[in-house]
């Protein structure tokens, strides 16, 4: 038992390290794909690493009005995202920390990070910061319940809210068509786009303050703070990708703990992430950014789809 636990904790650390390492890579990969799809010359794959490293080197320029909350927020946000990636099963479902937070708590972690980044955005007291915070909260209050509903659909199928159990159940069932999962999958994709500040809701590469959401909030950040926030953002993208993969393509995530399982799991994860990145880039290329007031409609649709997924499950699948 103890050996098992130790192995589990080791695995847990491995997951964390993997997340920390892979997250900027995923961002870089998506950016590269997007550039390719848009007929631009692609930035190097490793660019995010270099950017983060560069930012760590730079000195922090703080606005005179910034409070201690402003300085603490990047660490909190980073810690939240790290915790999130600890919980999501990527390499194994047998994670000791998974019991600490289930799907609902995971949504809670994202919300916690969002609240802090919004508060940090308001802290300096510029018009853009609070504008970004307001928009971020607008996106959040629609995306959060939608995400929760997606989790609920899968929880209903697996009779559990524990992510590990959900993934196990979904991964080891006999092959059957779950129409509810299709709905949930679409909803989840839409939510992910919004939550990770991607086109069509937000544009991560914009330089026009008026259209920003995420970027507007972090306008005042610089140096190591900005580095942490950027890193946290890519961790978030990574975590969302992993959640999507775990829920809708759970194959390849082993239950047990061991070197041999890792050897299967790791390539599977990398492959799935790479495919996911391509799809993300494709979506971003094919769609145009919406006006901010269209975002509620977009997310409302996601929310409705997620609720529909639950209803569909109850109507068509329950009792089977």
């Amino acid at each position: 038992m103890n050996a098992n636990l130790a192995a589990g904790i080791l695995l847990q650390f491995l997951e964390l390290i993997a997340a920390l390492v892979l997250a900027p890579l995923l961002s870089g990969w998506v950016n590269q794909c997007r550039a390719l799809l848009q007929n631009r010359s692609a930035p190097p794959l490793m660019l995010p690493y270099r950017q983060i490293a560069k930012l760590f080197e730079k000195e922090v320029v703080l606005a005179g009005n910034a409070s201690s909350l402003f300085r603490a927020a990047p660490y909190i946000i980073f810690a939240c995202m790290a915790l999130a990636s600890l919980i999501v099963p990527t390499l194994s479902t047998d994670l000791p920390f998974a019991a600490a937070a289930d799907a609902i708590a995971l949504v809670g972690i994202f919300a916690l990070a969002r609240v802090f980044i919004a508060l940090a955005g308001m802290d300096v007291g510029t018009s853009f910061g609070s504008l970004g915070a307001r928009r971020e909260m607008l996106i959040g209050f629609l995306a959060e319940p939608a995400l929760l509903m997606v989790f609920f659909t899968t929880s209903l199928i697996s009779q559990s809210t524990s992510l590990a159990i959900i993934v196990e159940t979904l991964g080891h069932r006999e092959f059957a068509i779950y129409p509810s999962l299709a709905f949930a999958g679409v909803a989840f994709t839409m939510v992910s786009l919004a939550e990770n500040a991607r086109v069509p809701v937000d544009n991560p590469t914009t330089h026009l303050e008026l259209t920003m959401i995420h970027e507007a909030m972090i306008l005042e950040y610089s140096g190591r703070h900005l580095a942490l926030i950027e890193w946290a953002a890519s961790l978030k993208l990574y975590a969302y990708s992993c959640i999507g993969l775990a829920l809708f393509f759970p194959w390849g995530i082993p239950q047990g703990v061991g070197i041999e399982t890792l050897l299967i799991a790791m390539p599977a994860l990398l492959f799935k992430l790479a495919v996911g990145g391509v799809i993300l880039a494709l979506i971003e290329t094919l769609s145009a950014k919406m006006r901010i007031f269209r975002a509620p409609e977009f997310l409302g649709t996601a929310f409705l789809l997620a609720v529909l997924a639950m209803l569909v499950h109850l109507l068509l699948e329950a009792g089977k």
Binding site: E59, N65, I76, M122, M137, P145, F152, F293, L314
Partner: protein
């Protein structure tokens, strides 16, 4: 009762403590204007009494119910008092929160504000004592007396600054709705004690709760009693559409009173509703649960949507209280539905969520109201549009209210999240219900709850961000000062409660077990105990689990590690300079988002919910002015028509009294003729 003389029971201790409160109140009348005596001596003593009450009641959780009969009240109906787990739990809330608020009030009371401090002390302690008696009452009369006394004393507290007509109006509306609600409760008791079995009551009225428990009213009368109780307690709790008093009264009251009302008084309504629907009514129909669930959902959504667009900080919190009351009713509705289908373990789960949320809401809402009190004292300003940047001047208040804000937004690892989590868990179990429509309804309801929780986050970010963050929107905010020592102690106590309730849910749920055992016959105690004190798994670990302590520790550890690593490998250099102005140097504090601006997205998304009156400047206005007033539709849809109907009634009645003596004689004549005709017929 003989043994009672030998060894005082817990209930005797409680009564003695409640009496202490009353005596402290009376002591305040001795030197009404002596602030040092009233505020610095009596209020802290009151806080100590509160702590003692919480302690005694805590010890009584899960014990055998104790009763005592006081030689007061009506003949044949002395005051019956009873202490069981349900009342003990709410007494814990009362005592614990009162301890904090009394300490706060000790530092908060100032000279020359409305009613004399001594009188306020009397009213405040009567308020506390009457709430305790509401929780202890075991017959309808004692309950009603305490209930109305509670309304009355809080009314006087609300209107302590009675020179302001707005406040008078708020107090009036409050007492009116409270009184009408109380009549509803009274009638509910009337049904309960009579049942439908007139013969059994034998013409003698017995208003004790024990008697009501033995009555088994048939479906119609049970529904009548339930409906009246829902109306009466709903009016007190602020269930939509009976909520209109709440956003008026809470801002009008002095902050400790708002805190007390929101944190504890609203809970007494929940207590009463639980008492009637789960304890006194022995007949329960499952569809009541659905009704309560729908009402609760609507209330929750309504409250939070309005909360997010308020421009007055206390109104924002008041609407947030409406939201939380809605969530509580959602939980009660679920529990009733489960209970109606005999799924007691699930009913216990939903009830646990309700009770837990009662604790949580009491803790974080009182904390937030006290924070607004501190801000109000420091700035003399309630309007969000004139605050800002106070985190620099009032760090204690700011950081402590951040705890309240996070808890209120339902974020882990604080307490608000735990009850929300439990509530959502109970939704997830609902598909087992043997009724198709309800099954379909539940996902929608769950979605609405999730939406509510998310918008609550929005409202709370607005609350905290606009008050404490950014730049001060007014010059004189620079003179603001942090809260005093006593106020800080109080807020630390309440903030500590928020954290403790969030971190140790297993322990709390074990205590709640006794209450759910009492109400639905089963509890989660055994299930949560088996998971160990760290792991919260209300049903089984495989279904759902949550470990808040691990959660907190991981976040702290990662955060700290990151900080240290960053400092270790790089540097800690900081340069302070102006904010980024996008190349436009005319940025001023006025350009931050206003509170109206922050609410704008919600107004856009939920525009049908609001009744908005806009005043927009034209293109050529010399002195352009923009304003928006957001009001409640219910005021226009429900209350004004009712008022108009009443007015029409009065006009018709006034028509009777025209002043002509001939007409008056004609009335008598016609009355006589009609009566004679009737008895002949």
């Amino acid at each position: 009762m003989q043994d009672a003389l030998a060894a005082p029971l817990a209930i005797d201790w409680l009564l003695a403590l409640v009496l202490c409160w009353l005596l402290l109140g009376l002591a305040g009348m001795v030197a009404q204007r002596n602030l040092r005596y009233v505020a610095r001596t009596l209020f802290p003593l009151g806080a100590a009494v509160g702590l003692a009450i919480a302690g005694v009641a805590f010890a009584a959780l899960g014990e055998v119910p104790e009763t005592v009969v006081l030689p007061l009240g009506l003949p044949d109906l002395p005051f019956h008092l009873r202490l069981d787990s349900l009342s003990a739990l709410f007494l814990v809330i009362l005592g614990g929160i009162a301890a904090g608020i009394s300490i706060y009030a000790a530092g908060y009371l100032r000279k020359g504000e409305g009613t004399a401090p001594g009188l306020q002390c009397l009213q405040y302690h009567i308020f506390l004592a009457s709430m305790a008696l509401v929780l202890l009452a075991d017959d309808a009369y004692a309950f009603m007396v305490a209930w109305e006394l509670m309304a009355l004393s809080s009314f006087f507290l609300v209107t302590s600054d009675h020179r302001n007509p707005e406040i008078r109006r708020a107090g009036y509306l409050y007492l009116l709705i409270a009184h009408i609600g109380a009549i509803g409760i009274l009638l509910s008791f009337g049904v309960l004690q009579g049942g439908n079995d007139m013969a059994a009551s034998n013409g003698v009225s017995d208003y004790t709760f024990a008697h009501m428990r033995m009555m088994h009213p048939d479906g119609f009368w049970a529904t009548a009693a339930f409906g009246l109780a829902l109306f009466g307690f709903g009016a007190k709790a602020g269930l939509v559409p009976l909520h209109v008093w709440l956003p008026e009264a809470h801002p009008a009251a002095p902050s400790p009173v708002s805190a007390m009302m929101s944190a504890v008084m609203l809970k007494t309504a929940i207590y009463g509703f639980l008492r009637v629907s789960f304890d006194l009514l022995q007949t329960r129909l499952w569809w009541w649960g659905v009704v309560v669930l729908m009402l609760g959902l609507f209330t929750a959504l309504f409250g939070v949507i309005f909360s997010a667009v308020q421009t007055d900080m206390k109104r924002l919190l008041a609407y947030s209280s409406i939201e939380n009351i809605g969530l509580l009713f959602v939980g009660i509705g679920l529990a009733l539905t489960f209970d109606g289908f005999d799924m007691t373990i699930l009913a216990a789960l939903a009830l646990t969520a309700v009770l837990y949320h009662c604790l949580n809401h009491a803790a974080f809402k009182s904390l937030l109201f006290l924070a607004t009190g501190a801000v109000l004292h420091a700035t003399k300003e309630r309007s969000l549009g004139k605050l800002g940047g106070l985190i620099h001047k009032m760090p204690w208040v700011a950081w402590l209210s951040l705890l309240g804000v996070l808890a209120s937004a339902g974020l882990p690892p604080l307490n608000g999240f735990v009850s929300e989590w439990l509530l959502l868990q109970s939704f997830l179990f609902t598909p087992g219900l043997p009724h198709g429509y309800i099954n379909m309804l539940i996902p929608v309801a769950a979605a609405a709850v999730a939406l509510t929780a998310a918008i609550a986050g929005y409202a709370m970010v607005k609350f905290f961000g606009i008050i404490f963050l950014g730049q001060p929107r007014e010059e004189r905010l620079a003179e603001a000062h942090d809260a005093g020592l006593l106020e800080r102690i109080a807020m630390i106590w309440l903030g500590g409660l928020c954290v403790a309730l969030g971190i140790f849910p297993v322990f709390v749920i074990e205590q709640l077990d006794a209450v759910t055992q009492l109400l639905v016959g089963t509890g989660l105690g055994a299930a949560v105990r088996s998971g160990g004190w760290l792991l919260l798994a209300p049903v089984s670990e495989n279904r759902a689990s949550y470990e808040p302590l691990v959660f907190l520790l991981v976040i702290l550890a990662v955060g700290a590690a990151t900080f240290m690593l960053v400092r270790r490998f790089w540097h800690g250099r900081v340069r302070i300079t102006g904010a980024w102005d996008c190349g436009w140097t005319l940025q001023s504090a006025r350009m931050q988002d206003t509170s109206e601006g922050f609410g704008q997205p919600l107004r856009q998304v939920f525009s049908p919910f609001y009744r908005m009156t806009r005043e927009e400047p034209g293109s050529f206005d010399k002195a352009p002015r923009y304003s928006i007033v957001v009001e409640d539709h219910f005021w226009y849809w429900l209350y004004l028509p009712v008022a108009r109907a009443a007015d029409m009634g009065t006009r018709m009645v006034a028509f009777l009294q025209q002043g002509r003596i001939s007409v008056y004689l004609l009335y008598s004549f016609v009355t006589l003729i009609v009566l004679l005709f009737l008895i002949r017929g």
